[in-house]
Symmetry: C2
Subunit: 299 residues, 2 copies
Amino acid sequence: MSELVSVNGAIFNPQEAKISVYDRGFLYGDGVYEVTRSYGRVLFALEDHIDRLFRSAERVNLNVGFSKDQLVKELYRVYDAANQDDIYMRVVITRGDSGGKINLDPNSSQTPNIVIFIQELPFFSPQVYREGQDLITSTYLRNSKKALDPNVKSGNYLNNIMALGEAKRLKAFDAIMVNKDGFVTEGTTWNLFMVKNEVCITAPDGADILQGITRKHLRDLAKTNNIKWEERFFTPDELKKADEAFSSSSIKEVMGIRSVDGVLIGGHGKPGPVTLKMAEIYKAHVKAYCQKHSEQKKQ
Amino acid sequence: MSELVSVNGAIFNPQEAKISVYDRGFLYGDGVYEVTRSYGRVLFALEDHIDRLFRSAERVNLNVGFSKDQLVKELYRVYDAANQDDIYMRVVITRGDSGGKINLDPNSSQTPNIVIFIQELPFFSPQVYREGQDLITSTYLRNSKKALDPNVKSGNYLNNIMALGEAKRLKAFDAIMVNKDGFVTEGTTWNLFMVKNEVCITAPDGADILQGITRKHLRDLAKTNNIKWEERFFTPDELKKADEAFSSSSIKEVMGIRSVDGVLIGGHGKPGPVTLKMAEIYKAHVKAYCQKHSEQKKQ
């Protein structure tokens, strides 16, 4: 069984996996989640994803119901049942339900529900990696961290969906989102970088963004590889005048950006040298990580 | 069976009602909903709720999968199965699922899921109606309509949940929410009114609010009863200096507000005369509506 779902520990075929309609994830999007992938049989940067899941949960006062170590074991138990290399894994933890009653009060539910999805990695055309993504700037502003913090990876994803839907209507690959002050924040499911005079520039941690794990690894890699790195606000106009631009995500890794709102970035029509360098050192880093963890697992 | 759930037309006991974990409501809060109640066997102001549900759906480009007339029939079919006076009804329509695949693109799902909940009305202590609610001003800002429009009644409810949770931690009854400019918007599940010099004042339609149906009926009733009505922005400070304050909701109807952040409104310690008048004329209006609709049903 290569694709499966675990619901509170019981494993199902995807078509048979169900949850109570009283689950607060279903009623309110009242849950947190993480997505990672495996390379071979190693779930890459799992400790980072677990840390972020717990941080998201803490910020919305949600009881995860596991220790970090227990959750790692549970994820690998479910993964082992799938018995498949190179997979997509999503873990969703909701605040549970209120015992067959609808009640908005978060205290009405004490027992979380945990759902773990394992499925094939989504396919992205090699052409997009070769030529870069064509993006739009969404007219939907990114949620403000003072209202619904994008740095909580929660089940409230309608903001991102509206932006992605807008991109698709305009035949674009995806959308970038700005905040109320007109500064670029991130994409719908990924962090955003521009390159100007060989400096990688991304919105600061405190912006209305999810602090991506791939972004964090790229920051560390930039340091060890003497690539200049800066975190500051910038506008879509500045982005359009950049030399290069790229996105980062656990699933898509580093992917070049060809155009934004029809404006070709850097006049390239293909990923620039810093983008290609970042993609290359990230791949090498993942390989080294997975080799190390694979050997540890065998011992 | 007084409490039940219909999932895509099939009726279940609440404990047995389930939905696919791939449903976009569960994964992303990607759905819209309405809540109404019956008086006797009449679902009050159902046409208003249906209109608003379709408007919410249209704004997030979600296909409801029913005509308005079909949906009214379906709601009454499910309600008849419950065979119970004076109930709470919630209808949730999600964008469905992507056929056992996780895919954020809203176009990946074409067939909505519809879930109808019928349960007992929640209990609110007569003491709260007699003495008024004690509220706090939440530190969480209300979602901005430029990011996630509060006038779309969607499954993204974490913003409201955080505010309600904050109120509960502070032993308050509920919370009011302000926008980024510091103006009062609404409560976590209800609209807010202050009374100053016998004028009912509420945030304008264009504010970051859900345009409540009870609020709309109160506006019409104010007009026919010569009660002065104004829609404008006001701050929590102005609210605290008001003569009276009250909330409106389909379930709680008109409920007085005793205090905000520990400040007694109007020095009353109980609902003021305009609040009591609004509560009274609303009840009379509901009674007349239900009598009329009950007679129409018999014909």
